[in-house]
């Protein structure tokens, strides 16, 4: 673990692989860390993220749980209170509703209502998002919705670096941290520095600078925003793509800094439009940068519909790069989005 001379070398891996090595790393570094969730062990993880970890760390630290989302999330809270550093995996966000009482009424409140006595250093990971024809009960994107809850942090890694580094940072955070991994990202490949380590989680990141419009995206929508920016660039519009990274607490300053450069903003959000995190971002921009805006803030969100199975309907329901392009063209062209 010491800084090696080969520190600048990198390895080709996937988002999945980056999370797996982050897990392995955490388990090696801190004996208080353990992973618990449905099928994280013998099955190898529903999305193969934890494959191999059971053999390496044994069933005490890689704990297959019964189908009991409420109990094992609550047990994660209790274990955190008891001095452990649990990583609880909820297989997908769709099942997290069964544990929401524990998350909102306990994890998020214990420190405050105990007058500062009881920090809950718990990490909850879950897969989120649509795009794989999994239909109405398996396609939710609720990370923006979770960001409503004070007392928790909400992280949405969109890159390999963040997939690798956010877990470490989350484990060092004394608060309950929810990490949403977009299911569509697991197979995404890229280079990852061999010495990739923890990343700060307080700031949004400009993934592509531009002067004409700010495009805010996160997790599964970042790639769409970048594709849209590429497309627009060929038409002479320079979009600045900002990866929000953390949905709670939002990096308001980072958002405003970008808007103050571009004077236009679009948010690309896989959540249902009404009451989405994109609404919050829009509201904050209006509140703080109203007089800087050359056009109303626009949103590209999911259609407000339980996700249909059929591919063409799912595509129609989700934000797409093409919709982002059209929206920005309208915005920069001067019309309302």
């Amino acid at each position: 673990m010491s800084a090696s001379p080969a520190a600048k070398s990198s390895t080709r891996t996937t988002y999945r692989g980056a999370i797996r090595s982050a897990l392995r790393d955490a388990l090696q570094r801190d004996p208080r860390v353990f992973l618990m969730g449905e099928d994280v062990g013998r099955y190898g993880g529903c999305f193969a993220v934890s494959k191999g970890l059971l053999d390496e760390f044994g069933p005490e630290r890689i704990r297959d749980t019964p189908l009991s989302e409420s109990a094992f999330v609550g047990a994660g809270i209790g274990a955190a209170l008891g001095g452990m550093r649990p990583i609880v995996e909820i297989m997908t966000v769709n099942f997290s509703l069964l544990a929401l009482d524990q998350i909102l009424n306990n994890a998020a409140t214990l420190l405050h209502m105990s007058g500062g006595q009881l920090p809950v250093p718990l990490v909850i990971r879950m897969t989120t998002g649509a795009g794989r024809q999994l239909a109405a009960q398996h396609s939710h994107s609720l990370e923006g919705w979770y960001a409503h809850i004070p007392g928790i942090k909400v992280l949405t890694p969109a890159t390999l670096e963040d997939a690798r580094g956010m877990l470490w940072t989350a484990l060092e955070d004394p608060n309950p941290v929810l990490i949403f991994e977009h299911g569509g990202l697991y197979p995404v490949e890229g280079e990852l520095a061999d010495d990739a380590g923890p990343v700060e989680i307080a700031h949004a990141a400009v993934r592509r600078p531009g002067r004409d419009v700010s495009v805010f995206a996160y997790g599964g929508t970042l790639a769409k925003a970048l594709a849209a920016a590429d497309d627009l660039a060929s038409g002479g519009i320079e979009a600045e793509v900002v990866d929000l990274r953390t949905l709670r607490p939002l990096d308001t300053e980072g958002i405003l800094a970008s808007v103050s450069r571009t004077h236009r903003a679009v948010i690309v959000d896989e959540g249902w439009r009404s009451g989405s995190i994109s609404a919050e971002i829009s509201a904050r921009i209006t509140e703080h940068a109203f007089y800087e805006l050359d056009a109303p803030v626009a949103r590209v969100c999911s259609a407000e519909v339980p996700m249909p199975y059929a591919r063409h309907q799912e595509e129609a329901a989700l934000p797409q790069a093409t919709t982002v392009v059209e929206t920005i063209r309208r915005l920069v062209g001067g019309g309302d989005a």
Partner: protein, 333 residues
């Protein structure tokens, strides 16, 4: 009479006895096609095959009348077919076509058919149980002597909704038949790794629900047990619980590398395959011969080929209708 050794379910004629074989075979062959179609990319999303468990759905469905209701899980092709939903409607659904039973919106995991009182197709483990309780409550309150059969895997037993639902059904003496298909695994988690008490009938008993285990690889045993249970439930005695001991021969879904069980274990269970076992019994009883079986296979192959063709020829729901039925278009009946 030893039910497990009986050639036929009690009180069932020769044609009905053969029909049990046909239904099991239809499910088996349809799902084998589904696996192919999935590899070919025509079916997508999650696909959970029922292969190995056919005796359960087929045996249970003959115990139900058309007014009874069925609630199932994401592993419900077998239940849907056995309940009378056509292969073409099911396949078109999996192809994402408008002609599917749910306009292509549900796919493999969400089969619904209101006319047949087939209420899903629920992809949240344990999510269907409270709904079954409510359907039964509606029947009870409206004085209808109907039964709601609720199918779920043994993995669901650990969920809070199992506990709450069984208690509510028992407390209010509701006409629910709880059919727990114990195929020993929830994805990769063996029953002993998910339940402190692996005797599931004992669990049911803790709600004062009569419960008994059934050989789920034996369609006759399933049919007899379900008919007995349905009779008790319909008579107003409150819910019953059946543990149907079975096994899935295939992976949990098309993504599953099956790291958690041995080939030997799977092979051992395949030797108890409910279809050849029942076919042999029909032969012994003089109700089936080689020609009869060949004819049956042929009939099913033709049905499925036709169904696939028609499903493929189906249309796509217009994108303009994406938002239809988020809210109802007319007052509820």
């Amino acid at each position: 009479m030893n039910a497990a050794a009986a050639p036929l379910p009690a009180d069932v004629g020769a044609d009905a006895a053969r029909a049990l074989l046909r239904e099991m075979l239809r499910i088996r062959r349809l799902e084998e096609k589904c696996a192919e179609l999935y590899s070919g990319g025509q079916i997508r999303g999650f696909l959970h095959l029922y292969i190995g468990q056919e005796a359960v759905a087929v045996g249970a469905m003959i115990a139900l009348g058309p007014d009874d209701a069925v609630v199932a899980t994401y592993r419900e092709h077998g239940h849907a077919l056995a309940r009378g939903i056509s292969a073409v409607s099911l396949l078109a659904e999996m192809f994402g076509k408008l002609e599917g039973c749910c306009r292509g919106r549900g796919g493999s995991m969400h089969v619904f058919d209101a006319a047949r009182r087939f209420y899903g197709g629920n992809a949240i483990v344990g999510g269907g149980l409270p709904i079954a309780v409510g359907l039964a409550l509606a029947d009870r309150m409206q004085g209808r002597r109907r039964v709601t059969a609720c199918f779920f895997g043994e993995g669901a037993v650990a969920e809070g909704s199992f506990h709450e639902s069984l208690n509510l059904a028992a407390l209010w003496h509701l006409p629910v038949l709880f059919c727990c298909e114990n195929n020993l695994y929830a994805m990769g988690t063996a029953l002993a790794l998910s339940e402190a008490e692996t005797d599931l009938c004992l669990k049911a008993a803790s709600y004062e629900i009569p419960a008994w285990p059934v050989d789920g690889m034996d369609v006759v045993a399933v049919a007899d047990a379900c008919r007995r249970a349905v009779t008790a439930v319909r008579a107003g005695g409150g819910p019953c619980f059946l543990e149907l001991r079975t096994y899935r021969f295939r992976a949990h879904s098309m993504y599953d590398p099956e790291l958690y069980r041995t080939k030997e274990e799977v092979e051992a269970w395949k030797r108890r395959d409910p279809i050849p076992a029942y076919a042999a019994r029909l032969r012994e009883a003089g109700l089936l011969d080689d020609a009869g079986l060949a004819a049956l296979e042929d009939e099913i192959a033709r049905e499925l080929a036709g169904a696939i063709e028609r499903a493929e020829a189906g249309t796509l729901e217009p994108v303009s209708e994406l938002l239809r039925f988020v809210y109802a278009e007319a007052p509820a009946p």
